[in-house]
Amino acid sequence: MATSSINVPNAGPVAGSRSFLSRLRDGDEIARVVTFLFAASVVLISLLLVVELWMQSTLPRHKFGFSFFLTRVWDPIAEQFGALPFIYGTLVTAAVALLIAVPLGIGAAIFLAELAPQKLSDPLQFFIDLLAAVPSVIYGLLGVFFVIPIMRQWVQPALKSTLGFLPLFQGPAYGIGFLTAGVVLAIMVIPYIISVSREVLLSVPRDQREAALALGSTRWESTWKVVVPFARTGIMGSIFLALARALGETMAVTMVIGNTPTISASLFSPGYSIAAVIANEFTEATGDLYLGALIELGLVLFLLTFILNGLARLMMLLTTQRGSGTAQA
């Protein structure tokens, strides 16, 4: 962790105040003002973004109010706009993604933090960080040409024949839909879960593990029953982080989800997500209400990811405080 910032007073070698002019001449005051302006511009930009989103979505907010979130109909001709199918699609694909990514991610993180010697763990983590750098459109490319055919020909029929009694796995197997989007998203968010969880697990104080082992637990028991619960908050934080990423994904999702505003219990059904509908319909939204409705969807997405990111950071904060605090007896 970085050392805390020590504010060296901008006086020169002589403690106490110098005259304003001499500070000015030295460039310190100008430097402070100029860099402050740059830093302030960041705050300004973020404020402006929120304000823009809020203001441009005024029309639909006044017209539909809260029912915007409960209406299923998205009909640009009749000017009826409801956000429910998109919220549903966004949440369902994210849920599928987490169901796949969390066990895999935590498992991998446990391996990297607890079992692998550093010589193995560091290079593996390096590769996983690279996985996080792969752009969304490349995942989309793979999704269209690799994942969809596999889902359509092998995975979905297999699920149908074995678990077809569940409403989750009914309906024709298009290959495209909620399940495929969830699978692609899972691959995209695993690196986040792994890297954050690994860091959190590594920061768990050694005496916790050693105490468990000293009491006779097996390696796995000490990991699963002592270390992981100790790092529980941080791991939750990583899951929230992953969730925030999954919610905001655009390209990979729009290429495999089917782009149809449907609400269906079946994971095989095509659907739509907030980010995907904005990407598809933004440039053609004629009429202020249509455009405003899309921007309101953007506002919803923004708020969701904002809250999740905030929670994630809160959890990370709690974990580091706990981890670096003295071990309570």
Binding site: I128, E221, L294
Partner: protein, 283 residues
């Protein structure tokens, strides 16, 4: 050994192996993606790909020269916009600011970092396209630059804070003012870390598609100057991938390989520089 102990040991061995499998799966995905791209796109990378413009729809041949140059232009402009804000803002946070201001700025940067890229696209459209009434490279660069700011800012701050106190104090003791200290001592000491931060920020936005959809738009020709729509690699990959033309699919794979190759290379270089440690000038 009791039976129960044997069972517990078995479970332990099994679960730990499973975690190994998880890690293996996660890592192999990366190699699988690379391999798949090489297999499908490797053969399509030829001289034409880098030098020719796209041909009319349905006709085979042509290349992505304009998309490659367009992406390069976008990234260059985005850095010119995003890096100074992040860099100087980071300097402010590390060297000048008080606790409260620092909190607000960091909060704003984290907020900006978490915004989904499609929403950044909406914002950039409202600010950089509508008022000027055209799509442009500048608008696209604005959107990408916005995304570079938080990464640059947070990392600059972190690496500057990581420079040991005594370096600063030594410089001050020799009579240098604050700004001189920053410019001549602190920043050069944190130079490597900041460079890698910029490289990582670049690699992150190089692959972004969504914000370009309604800012840089697209162009079948060269984009003159900075005020016209421009083709870019990620958008062309997207358009070609969802099309029915096999020739376009080929080109999409090739472009994907080039794009991913460049991004991974930049990431690797950045991380290698970082792992060698932040350079501290020897006294």
């Amino acid at each position: 050994m009791t039976a129960r102990l044997r069972w517990r040991k078995l479970v332990s061995g099994f679960m730990l192996t499973m975690t190994g499998v998880c890690a293996l799966v996660a890592v192999s995905v990366l190699f699988f993606i690379l391999g798949y791209l090489v297999y499908n796109g490797g053969t399509s990378i030829n001289w034409d790909f880098f030098t020719k413009l796209p041909t009319p729809v349905g006709e085979a041949g042509g290349g992505m020269a304009n998309a490659i140059v367009g992406s390069a232009k976008l990234l260059l402009l985005a850095s010119l916009f995003g890096v100074p804000i992040g860099f100087f803002g980071g300097i402010y946070l590390a060297e000048f600011s008080g606790q409260k201001v620092a909190f607000v700025v960091r909060y704003a940067a984290d907020l900006l970092n978490g915004v989904p890229s499609i929403v950044i696209g909406i914002f950039a459209y409202a600010l950089a396209v509508l008022p000027f009434k055209h799509f442009s490279t500048l608008a696209g660069a604005f959107a990408l630059g916005l995304m570079m700011i938080p990464i640059t800012l947070r990392n600059t701050e972190e690496f500057l804070l990581g420079v040991p106190r005594n370096l600063r104090e030594g410089s001050m003791a020799l009579g240098a003012g604050k700004w001189t200290t920053i410019v001549r001592v602190v920043v050069p000491a944190a130079y490597r870390g900041i460079m890698t931060a910029i490289l990582l920020a670049l690699a992150r936005v190089a692959g972004e598609t969504a914000p370009l959809l309604f800012t840089a738009f697209g162009n079948r020709f060269w984009s003159p100057g900075l005020n016209q729509p421009t083709a870019s690699l990620p958008v062309v990959i997207y358009n070609y991938a969802i099309s029915p033309y096999d020739d376009w699919h080929r080109q999409a794979w090739a472009a994907g390989l080039v794009l991913l190759g460049l991004i991974l290379m930049v990431n690797i270089i950045a991380r290698v520089i970082l792992s060698r440690g932040v350079a501290v000038p020897r006294s």
